[in-house]
């Protein structure tokens, strides 16, 4: 297995780390052009640390990727009168510094820098929160760090309050697949706010994946997968709703699929020796006070998704014939019902479709980017099917459907191992 190249810190950061020496808790905030929101995130973090961990040595890091909108200036000046907001009158032993990170701008390098600082300060626990959060509260800091300090967990995955049609790619593919593969039920494996133990930050730091596309595109998903696959103790914390600053240039769906599903499939190759023989799954502890969101009807353009699926069936058939097993393709053809203006892709057919695509990706039956991008109409067909099935359901009832899908993925796993072929050693 290839070792990761050591990461170097900026001279000024090095000096600050040496001056601090040791810390109990470290909170990292990766940023890139977040001047509008980073002030709120820093103030909330400081309040959370002061309120919940007043007697700990804490360090706050803003790892900035070369912002041009004055984000580091806002981060330096963001401060507040803690006295008015503290239950305890003890001031925290808080150090704060800003470090530019080296390498290609991107969250992975920022997070890697944070892990490196955590390693050098021998921090016992840490958390990373996004700099564009609008809904963060001081309790997030406690919920992300307390399970590590008090309960001995290594990784705290976030559990946001979501509408039943939010995060559909996670609901229909990433969650059930991760659950069936690694036997751990982490409901939102792509959450970008998380807690980590000192041991886990060292484990991450040793991985060679930092130099690959996996971490460049989907660092959050990679970290969750790496934690569950390497047997670290994982839990979840309910954080409530997540509201972020709206980004104007969002990636289109095929690109998003290429990044997310590409990362899931690549991680499957890296950890095939872990998941190949595992069966079933275990619930993951959930901390925090969980409550249900509103079940207001959401406007979803189902017709457009069904049209995309049908267009795929009409035009992408020669490509799907290479990717999918004949019986899976037949079941997908049967899933379209033009007379009833409906598409119904049953859970088992969807699970087999995903497994066929994973095997086609692994065995390079087609160019890998082609495999993933050709999944777009399949995913939209499944999403349309899910929306039509759950339109009248509450969020809780829709969640039960998602859990059932996870069980079907687990039951169909022998099909995946058959299609996958022999286990091969792949470097991480």
């Amino acid at each position: 297995m290839r070792e990761a190249k050591p990461i170097s810190l900026e001279e000024q950061t090095e000096a600050q780390v040496r001056a601090i020496g040791q810390a109990d808790i470290l909170v990292g905030i990766p940023s890139f052009n977040n001047a509008a929101t980073i002030g709120h995130v820093i103030k909330t973090t400081i309040t959370g640390l002061a309120k919940h961990f007043p007697d700990r040595r804490t360090v706050l890091i803003n790892s900035d990727g070369g912002s041009t909108d004055g984000t580091p200036d806002v981060a330096v000046t963001a401060g507040m009168d803690l006295g008015a907001r503290l239950i305890s009158d003890r001031q925290p032993l808080l150090h704060r510094f800003i470090t530019p990170y080296r390498g290609t701008p991107g969250k992975s390098h920022a997070v890697r820098t944070i892990f490196e600082i955590a390693r050098r300060l021998t921090a016992r626990a840490g958390a990373v929160v996004d700099a564009d959060l609008r809904s963060m509260t001081p309790e997030w800091i406690e919920l992300l760090i307390r399970p590590i300090l008090d309960e001995g967990f290594d990784y705290v995955a976030p559990y946001y309050l979501q509408h039943k049609y939010e995060g559909m790619l996670t609901t229909s593919l990433v969650y059930p697949l991760t659950r069936a593969l690694y036997g751990v039920q982490v409901r939102q494996p792509i959450g970008s706010d998380f807690g980590f133990s000192g041991a886990l930050s060292r484990h991450y730091g040793e991985k060679s994946a930092w130099e690959s596309d996996i971490t460049r595109f989907e660092i959050d998903l990679w970290m969750t997968t790496e934690a569950v696959a390497s047997g670290m103790r994982v839990c979840q914390s309910f954080l409530g709703p997540k509201l972020q600053e709206l980004k104007e240039q969002a990636a289109d769906l095929p690109t998003l699929l290429a990044e997310v599903v590409g990362t899931v499939f690549t991680c499957m190759e890296v950890h095939q020796h872990v998941w190949f023989s595992s069966q079933g799954s275990q619930p993951t502890p959930l901390f925090g006070f969980q409550y249900e969101g509103s079940a207001e009807p959401a406007h979803v353009n189902v017709d457009r998704m069904m049209a995309s699926f049908r267009r795929g069936l009409a035009d992408l058939r020669p490509i799907w014939e290479v990717m999918l097993a004949p019986e899976t393709l037949r079941a997908l053809v049967a899933a379209q019902r033009p007379t009833a203006s409906r598409v119904h892709i049953p859970d088992e057919v969807w699970a087999r479709t995903v497994y066929d695509c994973a095997a086609a990706f692994h065995r390079r039956r087609l160019n890998r980017t082609h495999v993933i991008k050709a999944m777009t109409p399949l995913y939209l067909g499944r999403t349309a099917s899910f929306v039509m099935e759950t339109q009248g359901l509450t969020t809780r009832e829709a969640e039960e459907r998602t859990q059932r899908l996870g069980q079907v993925f687990e039951q169909c796993k022998p099909y995946l191992t058959d299609r996958w072929g022999p286990v091969e050693e792949v470097g991480s």
Partner: protein, 236 residues
């Protein structure tokens, strides 16, 4: 008189007969070479194919991803068969050249020498065509997937156009390599390529006005809010 007739008529016939008799062994040798070489080439081709199968090259090709690469290129994923056929055709070409050489005719010898000198160009053209065929398949697939994902109605036609565009460029390059009608090929290719670009521009302008509008709005960040208000489902 009779003698002169005999000399005029029979001597050439006698000479021709003598020459034919002298040439006959060469012709027979050429036939023998062909009669033995052709079935031998066929048998060796099949033998190589079977030997490769017995040695498990099929499985090896599958493991190293060669079969997948052939499938990706739109070819039959059977490297043993392909190698056998390549062997057969190479031996057959050698046999034909050997047979022509056995005839020992000056004109044929010159033609054979010219043909042999032409072989490097033919091989280069063949490589260009092979790479072009692989590239055209890749481009056609990429275009098809992108067009379907962009909800373009005539995705298959667009992919076909992309495939033939690449093949046309490849063909022009191969013909140029072979030195066949270079000017006509260059002019013909220029006209055909310009026509395709013009047709694409017209098709995009007339048939995909809405798509172009949406693409521009997306680039300028104008369509984002409208898109959100249309659909409240999120993927991440």
């Amino acid at each position: 008189m009779n003698e002169s007739w005999e000399r005029a008529l029979l001597e050439p016939l006698a000479t021709a007969g003598t020459r034919f008799l002298q040439f006959l062994p060469n012709l027979l040798a050429a036939f023998v070479i062909l009669a033995i070489g052709w079935p031998l080439a066929w048998a060796l081709g099949r033998g190589v194919e079977r030997a490769l199968r017995v040695l498990g090259v099929d499985h090896l090709a599958d493991r190293v991803g060669l079969n997948a690469a052939l499938t990706r290129s739109g070819l039959k994923p059977d490297p043993c068969h392909l190698t056998g056929r390549l062997f057969y055709w190479s031996l057959l070409v050698l046999t034909v050249f050997a047979a022509l050489g056995a005839l020992d005719v000056a004109a044929i010898n010159r033609a054979t020498t010219t043909l042999l000198g032409y072989i490097p160009y033919v091989l280069t053209a063949a490589v260009i065509l092979a790479v072009g065929a692989l590239l055209s398949n890749y481009v056609a697939r990429s275009t098809l997937i992108a067009a379907v994902n962009a909800n373009v109605r005539s995705a298959t036609a667009l992919a076909g156009l992309a495939r033939w565009g690449v093949l046309l460029i490849t063909l022009a390059m191969a013909l140029e390599q072979l030195g066949i009608a270079q000017t006509i090929v260059a002019v013909g290719f220029g006209i055909a390529f310009s026509g395709i670009i013009l047709a694409l521009a017209l098709a995009f302008g007339l048939g995909a006005r809405n798509l172009a509008k949406e693409a521009l709005e997306h680039q300028l960040g104008l369509g984002h809010r409208r898109e959100r208000s249309k659909d409240e489902l999120t993927h991440l």
